[in-house]
């Protein structure tokens, strides 16, 4: 376009820049300051208080374990969904719509959905009872069954969060030119070779987006955990919430927030480095 009025694009982005500056950059700086200061002077007292808290180590461990358990399963499931749906002609739209339903479901609702299945008189116990595997109602979500509680939360997270990975990956798969696969087929590459050598490298940008988004979201896990396990399963965001709301200690809550930011940022950088993508194709 003509450059007679070079200020036009700036005028157009100005409102959003001002908004993000006020409500993203400023609070970000505030959070960091709140976390590393005490009575207006730089101090590590909050970090110390956070680290020595009884739930700290458990919440770090739980959050990491959950992320490590959930994200790979989601990527694998999404890849399976993408390859399956590519082979379908009629009915494709309907199948994709059904698979994207969880995209609209909040983590709190997802927790409540799985609560209806996993609670003591719920459907899982009914099924196991019907099959003769358990004799009486088993409890899965109490602090006495940490492994079952962990699996329950992981399943609920996988159920809810796979949709977004699937959408990104299917969009990525749609951009892989058909000719590449056909050529590989002519040269005798089997389905597995084609998948590993052709498809995966070509959808790398989509994979990267999906991994970054899902990992950051996994570190933010909160309401699913709250709905299923209450406070039996401490996670980082949950601790931040408790420090803010129950203990009214904004500084320690901020320390948790900063920790989550650092972890998320580190994960993002690792993905950006590990899965090098042509900078042109970044979002």
């Amino acid at each position: 376009m003509t450059n007679s009025r070079p200020w036009i694009p700036y005028l157009l982005i100005l409102p959003s820049v001002a908004f993000l500056a006020l409500l993203f950059v400023v609070p970000l700086v505030q959070t960091i300051w709140l976390a590393v200061s005490d009575n207006g002077a730089p101090s590590l007292a909050n970090a110390e208080r956070m680290v020595t808290d009884i739930n700290f180590t458990r919440s770090v461990k739980n959050t990491f374990l959950l992320t490590i358990a959930v994200v790979p399963v989601q990527i694998a499931l999404a890849l399976a969904m993408g390859t399956m749906v590519a082979k379908v002609g009629r009915g494709r739209e309907t199948i994709l719509w059904i698979w994207t339903i969880p995209l609209g479901i909040s983590d709190l609702a997802a927790g409540l959905v799985w609560l209806s299945i996993l609670q003591n008189t719920g459907y899982l116990n009914s099924l196991l009872f019907g099959l003769g595997i358990i004799g009486r109602q088993a409890s899965w979500l109490s602090y006495q069954t940490p492994v079952a509680l962990f699996l329950a939360i992981a399943v609920a997270e996988i159920w809810r969060g796979t949709a977004i990975v699937m959408v990104i990956i299917v969009a990525g798969l749609n951009q892989v030119p058909k000719e590449f696969k056909e050529a590989a087929e002519i040269f005798g590459a089997g389905p597995w070779t084609r998948f590993w050598r052709i498809t995966l490298p070509l959808i790398r940008p989509a994979l990267q987006s999906a991994l970054i988004l899902r990992t950051v979201l996994a570190f933010e896990v909160f309401a699913v955990v709250y709905a299923l396990g209450g406070r039996n399963f401490p996670v980082l965001v949950g601790e931040a919430y408790n420090w803010q709301n129950q203990n009214q200690n904004y500084s320690v809550a901020a320390a948790y927030a900063v920790l989550i930011m650092i972890i998320s940022l580190a994960a993002t950088l690792i993905y950006l480095k590990a899965l090098k993508v042509d900078p042109e194709r970044l979002p």
């Binding site: 959905v113 969009a171 987006s209 950051v216 919430y241 927030a257 979002p283």
Partner: protein, 285 residues
């Protein structure tokens, strides 16, 4: 010749059997994954409509016995539910309006102009995606208390806009890129001003995509739990309300709340399903 006929006759059913067993595998996989998504929603609906007795039936069958709308209506009549529902709608409305009003012009600028700082702007937007944004609600409580925005729907709407705005800017960029530049230029030739050309030519063509973006902004706000819970005390959104009453409410109320959270967003996702892949295809590129 006879042997030939025999061997082909023997081959064909075998090959067909191989193909159909692969198809069978494919479709059972698809069916299993569809069930994986749908069955839990069906079960929570049973929990929501089965009421107090429904929760304690043992063992459960998974069949809709003793269903009625009454438990759900009773849940709606619980103090605070309708108000929090309206609060959620209000916060989502503010989020939609602000993220489109602020995000769409930015998307248009990114799609149509080359300017210094474009990459920095993109970086700012990208950066927001790498942070757990809801966490920003913590320091904002302090500022919001000072500004009188604490415990208001506007305050919740503002923080939800931080979540939805970067998304809106990226997505509308893709939508405006999809509107041919030539149409706009033709309008200028015929004497339209830039602004006229935008509203007469570009806006109508981009409208469906913008509506889809708005729906996504709505769903983002509707589903957000953490910021809404931290920033409100009395004027809670539905998610924040459910979170705070979670431990003391009976099971069937929790299921009713879950169902109530799910229904609107499922309807909305259905309405914009056509745009889902276009949108994420663009913003994940």
């Amino acid at each position: 010749m006879t042997t030939d006929t025999i061997s082909t006759a023997a081959d064909t059913p075998k090959a067909a059997g191989f193909v159909s067993s692969r198809r069978w595998l494919l479709w059972s996989g698809i069916a299993a994954l569809c069930a994986w998504v749908l069955v839990p929603i069906y079960l929570v609906a049973l929990g929501a409509l089965g009421g107090r007795q429904g929760v304690y039936i043992w063992p459960k069958t998974g069949l809709p016995t003793g269903m009625s709308l009454e438990p759900f209506i009773l849940f709606l009549k619980t103090e605070g539910v309708v108000q929090s529902f309206l609060n959620s709608l209000g916060a989502a409305g503010i989020t939609v309006a602000l993220s489109i009003l602020l995000g769409a012009p930015a998307g248009y600028a990114l799609a149509r102009y080359d300017f210094r700082g474009k990459d920095s702007y993109r970086l700012l937007v990208l950066l927001t995606r790498a942070f757990p944004l809801a966490i920003l609600a913590l320091p904002l409580t302090v500022s919001f208390i000072r500004l009188g925005l604490y415990d208001t729907i506007l305050g919740v709407g503002l923080i939800h806009t931080v979540l939805a705005l970067p998304f809106a800017a990226l997505v509308t960029q893709g939508i405006f890129l999809g509107v041919p530049k030539e149409l706009e230029e033709a309008a200028w030739v015929f004497g339209c001003t830039r602004i006229q050309a935008f509203f007469k030519i570009v806006a109508p063509l981009a409208l469906p995509g913008i509506v889809a973006t708005a729906v996504f902004a709505f769903v983002i706000s509707w589903n957000e739990v953490f910021a809404a819970s931290v920033l409100t005390v009395r004027n809670r959104t539905l998610t924040a309300y459910l979170l705070t009453v979670l431990s003391e409410s009976p099971m069937h109320y929790r299921f009713a709340g879950g169902l109530m959270l799910i229904l609107p967003s499922v309807v909305f996702i259905f309405a914009v399903r056509r745009y889902l892949f276009a949108i994420w295809g663009i913003s994940s590129k």
